[in-house]
Subunit: 422 residues, 2 copies
């Protein structure tokens, strides 16, 4: 522990010093830097792929699951994707120095609230090495120095990716210490990072529920959780069922492993007999395992559709897979009650043609995003026009929903006077 | 611990249920409620003063310090002050339902980001019973239910103040459970509140450094710290010294016990010989004890002014009293370095007539508020035109500086479509 704490202190201190050069640079200079990093990633592809091959060999030896190996794998195409991401972030508007508030007080004081960087931001993430590059892009553009702690399984790739980025920084006015790699040999560096209060301004965890839980329990530094998504699709009795079916299928099956995929379908009892036979058939033929309440079981039985009995635990489970809970509810209030009990305040969707009903659902939903007649999959920085995202916040503090460049800034009040006192 | 956790769970659950009635009410209804509470506080003054007399008697028995007793004491005038505060908050604009972002995406999705309440907010505070009423005003107006945990020394006053407010709620459409009093017999309820993750949306501590430290170490619920203020006044060589002196005296002596009072004076070496003799004399005659660096000691000696030798610890001490550190610095960068090393990112002031120098100081200051030619005492919700404040955030996450109604809201994204899928 002492060693890990010292490592983090040293990295954070050099990042803090580097922050002045990053903030002193213009937005054009920071964006240029990102474009140069994009070029370097392409030029250094062989070196990056060689490092990734080491990670893949270790993954083979340890018998890593195929889906995990796919997340770990880098290819020329994926490196080009990272480089493209860098260029896209470079082209986004400057998130720093935005005027958020401005007013002149009766005593003549001029108040301005401006966006400024956090300073030193830690990222703790798992598996995919592209996060190393994507996070660095957003953090550098928003004037933050990055302490990157990826998973040990991607250590070789991450080390080289950070090296390539630092080599570009070394040729610029910005200190290479603006990007730091945190050794990932064991969890002690994560623990130390979470206790580096006063040295690190913010830590963002991205990964498994156990990682998030560890962060919540241990952290004394400020954190933004990117958490679980138990998202619901509620099909109202005033729904256009021709819209409801594709929204349901897309929400569940488009990419089941991500947090904005739906886990539970709630159907108004008024349309259950019409909609559920069609919906269940479509879900099952898409390979979805159904966990059903009693009313849904009855409907499934009359149509010879195969469903499982939903357990109490199922309703709050994020499957990350082709499994879905289905329940019939009395009305929009019952749907909201169910969501409040089992949901995770991430994304909830209502399908209805009744505007009042939609407003009622919005008012009763306590979540980051409410979809009215749209797929839950739209809670996403790129889809919502943020240009890029560093994660999706599942908390109410600071940022809620997708986090882009603006969310990676804090503010300062500038008060200009001519000698005013109280 | 089990008992305290059960108490908090029960209170939080009933507050969560009450939240629907609070959010369903219009802003006019919530504001009306605050005005009725103001009237009730006046009408029930005798009852409130009788309860306060119990607290004062216990304070006498326990030998409480005079300054603490003054904070605990309620008078007719102070109750009128609380009632006025309620009415002022009632008159402020509705912080809910503000449109923060609105855009239409190329695929036709209409995005709106709106302000919504957190839900259930806990307050942990010390001594002054008026916080019970001030916090309730801001929380109710911003649609949040309040779990109030004051100090045990003010228990009798707090219980009656909460009773009076709940009696008014009982006559309205809003559930009285929107305001809850947390028993303050021992610290177990604070610990339980800090661990009520998923039940409480936010906890705001207001009080001593040890309370804040406990919150940082223990909390698994989201918190906003209202922390220490080691604020600096930097007098530049381009300062108008006629402005510098009143700014310095006001920053230090106007109300030394609060977080936006200054603790350290930094003087550019170019004006030290001119400014320091005058400044030290004025501070000393205002009763301020001086902790000086070597250069300041030398100047003080030549003018027969009595100063102490500053220790390393002094530079990072929040005195909350008539004591001040004084140092001579080479330039604005040296001032910023000193502030970065010893400051608490709260409020920093520069006195200068040079606009570039001011901008440099602003860029180098990593704090909630920077004052240019104005007293540090202006970092205050009322002074900055927020109408009221629930505390001053000393963190970078969510809210920085004074927290008024707007800061007591979070946001939700509302996405309206016509069947869009990905």
């Amino acid at each position: 522990m002492v060693d890990a704490a010292q490592i983090i202190s040293r990295l954070a201190e050099s990042a803090r010093l580097a922050n002045r050069s990053l903030v002193a640079a213009t937005d054009a200079a920071r964006s240029d830097l990102l474009r140069q990093i994009a070029d370097a990633l392409i030029n250094q592809s062989d070196r990056i792929l060689a490092a990734n091959a080491e990670d893949m060999a270790r993954a083979d030896e340890s018998g890593m699951a195929t889906s995990m190996k796919d997340r770990l794998l880098l290819t020329r195409e994926r490196i080009e994707g990272m480089a493209d991401g860098m260029r896209q972030v470079a082209a986004l508007p400057n998130p720093l120095g935005r005027t958020i508030n401005a007013r002149t007080l009766p005593n003549g004081l001029e108040l301005t609230q401006k966006s400024v960087p956090f300073g030193v931001v830690g990222m703790v993430y798992e598996a995919r090495p592209n996060v190393t590059v994507d996070a660095a892009a957003i953090l550098l553009k928003s004037g933050n120095c990055a302490l990157l702690r990826g998973s040990s399984s991607a250590a070789s790739s991450n080390v080289v990716l950070v090296e390539v980025m630092r080599e570009v920084l070394a040729q610029s006015s910005i200190s290479p210490e603006a990007i730091q790699y945190i050794p990932s040999d064991d969890r002690s560096t994560v623990t130390a990072l979470l206790h580096a209060r006063g040295e690190v301004d913010l830590v963002i965890p991205r990964g498994s529920a156990s990682l998030i839980r560890m962060v919540v329990d241990e952290a004394t530094v400020p954190t933004i959780e990117t958490g679980a998504g138990v998202c619901h699709v509620y099909v109202d009795d005033a729904a256009d069922l021709d819209k409801a079916l594709p929204i349901l299928i897309n929400s569940k099956t488009h990419r089941p492993s991500v947090c904005n995929a739906a886990e539970t379908l709630l159907v108004h009892e008024g349309v259950a007999q019409t909609f559920l036979p069609v919906a269940l058939k479509a879900l099952i033929s898409a390979g979805v395992i159904i966990h059903a309440d009693a009313a849904t079981q009855a409907i499934a039985a009359t149509h010879s559709l195969d469903v499982m009995v939903a357990t109490e635990e199922n309703w709050s489970t994020e499957y990350n897979a082709l499994e879905m809970n289905v329940a019939v509810v009395k009305d929009v209030i019952a749907a909201a009650d169910h969501i409040q009990k089992y949901g995770t305040n991430h994304t909830e969707a209502i399908v209805t043609e009744n505007a009042e009903r939609a407003d009622q659902f919005i008012a009763l939903s306590d979540c980051a995003a409410v979809m009215v007649n749209a797929s839950t999959r739209f809670t996403d920085g790129e889809q919502m026009g943020f240009g890029a995202e560093i994660g999706i916040s599942n908390q109410k503090l600071h940022a809620r929903g997708p986090m882009g460049l603006e969310q990676m800034t804090t503010t300062t009040w500038i008060v200009r006077g001519t000698g005013q006192i109280r």
